[in-house]
Amino acid sequence: MNGRVVIALALLALAAALVIAARPHEPTADERIDRITTELRCPVCQGLSVKDSMSDTARQMRDLVAERVREGRSDAEIQAEFRAAYGDWILLSPPVASWSGLVWLAPLAALAAGLLFAMGRLRRADAPAGAEPSAAQIAALRDRVAREEAAEG
């Protein structure tokens, strides 16, 4: 039983660590700015986010985001401001509530389909090859052995 105790304790510790790591808390202004600028595309770069880019344009966008965060605007409002000027192109991941939102569904669907298919290919665990014979079968076998021994003499 020692092994099981160790496993149980370890899993508990792991769960605790994950809870600590998740640390749900009110994001600071800097964290909000980071989060928003990670989702915005730098207009003059090759696919870089506004957070990662060193260009002047990205810098100015970061300043604008910082100012809006200070003013108390929500993430959605700030995104909407950039979307109004640049279109959906400025967002680095498609908004969920739109036709392009389907791209979020696709990986889940692929995974689900694949797992279903895989489970279907697996041999069912409750039908092992070579099942145990039943009690009646064992009794019959014993009878037969006794009869044959008697016949041998």
Binding site: P43, V44, Q60, L64, F82, A84, A85, Y86, D88
Partner: protein, 178 residues
Amino acid sequence: MLPRIVRAAVVVALLGVVLTLALAFRRDPHDIRTGTVGKPAPAFALERLDGSGKVSLADLGGKVVILNFFASWCLPCTQENPALVRVYERYRASDVVMLGVNYQESRDNGLAYVRRMGIGWTTVADADGRVALSYGVFGPPETFFIGRDGVIAGRHIGPIDEATLINGIEALRGTASK
């Protein structure tokens, strides 16, 4: 033996991929078209480059406005400048206003560029880039055509030529304010 549905799905998926790639040839990856076209031009009030006061979009209401974003570090801007100069001369006495917005550089550099290139129309400085961001500017040179009703009728990314400018202006002058 692969079930029918799997075969069909595979073929359809591959067809989709190939079709997408083939259609992709039609587009130019450098042509980004989304943005503020068709919407009211965002308001602004910017300092003139020579420091002699402010210019606001509201002042230019009722006129056709050509808004040109430029910078001295932008090579194509120098290439399009002669066209801008010629168009400016042509419409100088009319109700077409040309406004240059200097972008992402110091006033001194902007002024030096203006003097060097013989830019006669009003130029303003967009110091913190906010106006450019509100218009959805990707990078200089970029030119916006704003109609008398204050709506952005068109936008041109990259160096612009005389013909495009004149066509745009005439189209805007032709439509009387609604």
